[in-house]
């Protein structure tokens, strides 16, 4: 499987978590691909940390340098949308006004700890708004490839990378599986096409239960 395919498969599955009428915040990386897979009947308001609620698609003509998403890419604003400053952007995040936050992840632990801001000595992106989103969003979904390039699992018993926030991830979507994280356990809910339960067990360090309603997801 090509790397690009994995990302698209993850984004496509994550799009099923977005329901009509939700307020949604998407992180950079794989989460930014999610809107491509939303059914056209679903109406949501996308919020971004740089001060916009009701983000619309990429403009087809004349992008505006002063109208962008949190990644700095040009966007549009939908009818009913609003602009606000950074304190309000984060005020609505902390206050619990975001229905679902979909973030990229580097590691997630079996109790829902999230690591997604730094690989010491290597990548230094910085934390951005991830700590507040992890704290305030009603539902936090972490998207990542199931393993590192060298095969090491990213779903771990305990994160080895610096923590963004503890006990915050409610669901993990990878190209291999979907896990729900409950207070008492992590539960395998779905196996993605082309993989077996044994594949998941072999590539997951964390302990998990298997849902009695376990299903295989069809990709379309």
């Amino acid at each position: 499987m090509e790397m690009g395919d994995e990302r698209q498969i993850i984004a496509q599955r994550a799009a099923h978590e977005v329901k009509d009428g939700m307020i949604v915040n998407l992180g950079i990386g794989i989460p930014s691909l999610v809107p491509d897979y939303l059914d056209s009947s679903i109406r949501v308001f996308f919020q971004a940390e740089n001060g916009i609620l009701g983000m619309g698609p990429t403009p087809t003509i004349k992008p505006d340098g002063n109208l962008s998403n949190a990644a700095g890419l040009p966007v549009t604003i939908l009818s009913g949308g609003s602009y606000f400053d950074s304190t309000i952007a984060f005020g609505m995040i902390r206050r619990g006004c975001i229905d679902v936050s979909i973030l990229g992840a580097l590691q997630v632990s079996e109790r829902g700890d999230l690591a997604n801001w730094i690989v010491p000595g290597k990548r230094v992106p910085g934390v951005g708004g991830a700590m507040e989103l992890a704290y305030g969003a009603k539902n936090l979904i972490a998207l990542m490839t199931h393993c590192e390039k060298d095969g090491r699992p990213k779903i771990v018993k305990k994160c080895t990378l610096p923590i963004t926030a503890f006990n915050c991830v409610k669901k993990i979507v990878t190209e291999m599986a979907v896990f729900a994280i409950h207070d008492d356990a992590m539960v395998l809910e779905e196996i993605m096409p082309g993989f077996s339960l044994m594949d998941i067990k072999n590539h997951t360090e964390a302990d998990f239960k298997v849902s009695p309603r376990l299903k295989e997801t069809s990709p379309s």
């Binding site: 002063n66 962008s68 700095g72 602009y83 950074s86 984060f90 992106p125 934390v127 503890f166």
Partner: protein, 233 residues
């Protein structure tokens, strides 16, 4: 009409900048960072600057242009991922970087701008970003104490300023600018348009001019956005 004598030129602004100052800058990924004032900062030759703002911009965009010159001593920001030069300087020990959660950082600047003594939050507790911040226990709950931030000089980008310094902003270029404008001893605003007092609707003013000390005319963004560039690097 320049009743309050705030409207000025870039040469005058250079004279208020100084070595070792704490500089707050508005903007988010360069959107809303004042391009003319960044150039003014570069041309002024000041060094050992303590920078505070949302992020490190890009190497050719926003505050990133200044960071690349190695004249900043430190940077307090929420992320630097879009400016690899900042990461290199950090790893080489040439730039001291402190990270803050993004919303906490702007709230600290707001606290400085509105005369509060800081605030408590659970965000960042137990993580590396708690640094040496004091921990306050109330009942059974522990909180981090986040101190207010103030600066010597702030640089701000506005859509319109009247000659008193009342400000309005443009779309997502507002971001951190309103609070950056309120938290420093000297606040320099680069406005896309400078208008006479009385022409802005008082209901729509975002920052009252009381905080603003200097106003200069903008010539607009003088960099290419990443999405305008042909190579996909």
């Amino acid at each position: 009409m320049n009743l309050f004598n705030k409207v000025t030129d870039y040469e005058t602004v250079k004279s208020v900048l100084f070595d070792g100052m704490t500089l707050l800058f508005g903007g988010f990924g360069g959107v809303g960072t004042p391009p003319g004032l960044v150039d003014c900062l570069i041309e002024s030759g000041v060094k050992n600057i303590k920078l505070i703002g949302n992020d490190a911009g890009f190497p050719w965009i926003g505050i990133g242009k200044f960071i690349c010159l190695e004249r900043a001593q430190s940077l307090l920001a929420s992320h630097i991922g879009s400016n690899p030069v900042a990461g290199d300087l950090m790893n080489q020990g040439k730039l001291k970087v402190e990270f803050s959660p993004q919303g906490i950082l702007i709230e600290r600047i707001r606290a400085g701008g509105v005369g509060l003594d800081g605030f408590l939050t659970q965000i960042g507790m137990g993580t590396n970003l708690a640094y040496e911040k004091p921990i306050v226990k109330i009942g059974d709950q522990e909180y981090l104490y986040e101190a207010p931030i103030t600066g010597d000089v702030a640089i701000v980008f506005a859509k319109k300023a009247d000659t008193f310094g009342n400000l309005i902003f443009d779309k997502t270029a507002r971001n951190t600018n309103p609070y950056v404008a309120m938290a420093s001893k000297i606040t320099v605003v680069e406005a896309e348009e400078i208008v006479p007092m009385g022409t802005l609707n008082p209901e729509e003013i975002i920052v009252p001019g009381i905080y603003v000390t200097h106003i200069v005319q903008s010539k607009g963004y003088n960099w290419k956005w990443k999405w305008e560039m042909n190579d996909k690097s």
